[in-house]
Amino acid sequence: MLSLRGVDKVFASGAQALGGLDLDVREGEFLSLLGPSGCGKSTALRMIAGLSQPTRGAIEWRAGQPEIGFVFQDAVLMPWASVFDNVWLPLRLTGASRAQSSAKIEAALELVGLQGFAKAYPRELSGGMKMRVSIARALVLRPALLLMDEPFAALDEITRLKLNNDLLRLKQELGATVIFVTHSVFESVYLSSRVAVFSARPGRVAAEIEVAAPLPRDDEFRLSRLYAQACKQASDALHAAMGEA
């Protein structure tokens, strides 16, 4: 779907976030970017979204840039707007009226299990529900590429596991390509078809690990041999990458 070729990113402060990053993203895969804090994985994600430009190198799109959905680490909702209006935002910015958007918004809320909450305000929701709204907002335009920047890092373990399962179900239903930034080995292996392990200073891909298990995955998968092996592999790669740095 896209390739990052020799991408460097140097911030105005002089800090180098990425150095010689090469990464291919395949159509339809679930790719995790795994790495320690400050290794530039979020920077890479922002670049793919077009929110940041590479200092050197290029991002090449196979068939032009598709519709992109972005989910941040926090839910990043507009506190003054209802759940409905928050999910409406991407449609609204394309010029779609409230009435035209209504069916799509309801559908997106149903995807994340929030039917009946359209009129609620963000502050009336729990952290997990806010994140669901955020995901519904990212999905409402049915993006071909979904970018997620540590979306569940601030949530409690139980909510996180639940949302992991829901995300896999969504991925299967919608068939979008997903790039998922995380610093959790277990989360990356559970969710992904491929894990790219980043090393820090400057950030680049140190190792790639394929996770062959097909969807749907469930809690059974967490107990499987394949899962344990992949976690070990990813964990070793991560330690090696951090040792290098």
Binding site: R46, A49, G50, L51, I68, F70, F72, D74, V76, M78, P79, W80, A81, L89, P90, R92, L93, T94, Y121, P122, R123
Partner: protein
């Protein structure tokens, strides 16, 4: 809920009435003449007796206050939006706003009276003091929109206009309302100060002029009556904007949270 209501409203009211009672008692017991310190009952009576004169002046002062406030709101918000669009404009013009703010209005008023007729000068003075809190709060509010949300708008290629309407203005609303509450009080002060400056030049018909005039005639009860009206106006303005904040923010902003849910 009932008990806290009682504590919230009944208690301050009781204390206020007790203070008035004490004042009344002190004046009566010590036989203080009204031209030194009038009793609250006499001030009340003067308020009723002189209502025709005082109410006219009250309207003049209130009209100037609100006209100045409306002008300051329009000017402050517009300039803040302009500042948010361009750093260069902000760099160039913000110092002027600061200079106008830090120069005491009492010092500017006589100069304005030279150039403008009395009513306009009073209006301009009230405008000048009300303008800055709205400008600075609004500028702060516009700049404090969530950066991730700004990124999101950029991702969806929103125009700057849509970003302003859908993101920056709503994000600035709590700051703006805070500024408005300060500006409301300041506009009244600005109007009063300018009226005193203008009144001493023998013109004007606002409440401040009534105070000066009553002072010349040693009509102390009327001075107090006019003062009471000014205080009441200030309190009323504050309450109006507090209520406005509550109505606009109670569903989503933390500042109105306690009372909202």
């Amino acid at each position: 809920m009932r008990r806290s209501d009682l504590a919230d409203y009944a208690l301050p009211l009781a204390v206020f009435l007790a203070m008035l009672g004490l004042w009344e008692a002190l004046v009566r017991i010590n036989d203080i003449p009204p031209y030194v310190l009038p009793a609250p009952s006499l001030i009340g009576a003067t308020l009723v007796k002189d209502w025709d004169t005082l109410s006219g002046s009250l309207l003049v002062t209130l009209r100037i206050t609100f006209e100045a406030l409306i002008a300051a709101t329009i000017g402050g918000v517009a300039l803040a939006i302009l500042f948010a669009r361009s750093r260069w404009i902000e760099r160039s013009f913000f110092p002027f706003a600061v200079v106008l703010q830090v120069t005491p209005i009492v010092a500017i008023a006589p100069l304005l009276l030279v150039y403008l007729d009395a009513n306009t000068a009073v209006l301009v003075c009230a405008f000048l003091v009300a303008f800055f809190p709205i400008l600075s709060n609004m500028a702060l509010g516009l700049a404090s929109a969530d950066h991730n949300l700004i990124d999101l708008f950029e991702l969806y290629k929103a125009s700057r206009w849509k970003q302003l309407i859908l993101l920056r203005l709503p994000a600035a609303l709590p700051y703006f309302l805070g500024g408005l509450r300060i500006a409301g009080g300041l506009a009244l002060i600005g109007a009063i100060v300018a009226e005193i400056a203008a009144g001493s030049a023998g013109q004007g018909a606002g409440l401040a002029f009534r105070i000066v005039e009553a002072g010349f005639r040693l009509n102390i009860p009327r001075m107090f009556a006019a003062l009471a009206l000014i205080s009441a106006s200030g309190i009323l303005i504050y309450l109006i904007f507090t209520l406005l904040s509550f109505l606009l923010l109670s569903r989503w902003h933390d500042s109105a949270r306690e009372r909202g849910l």
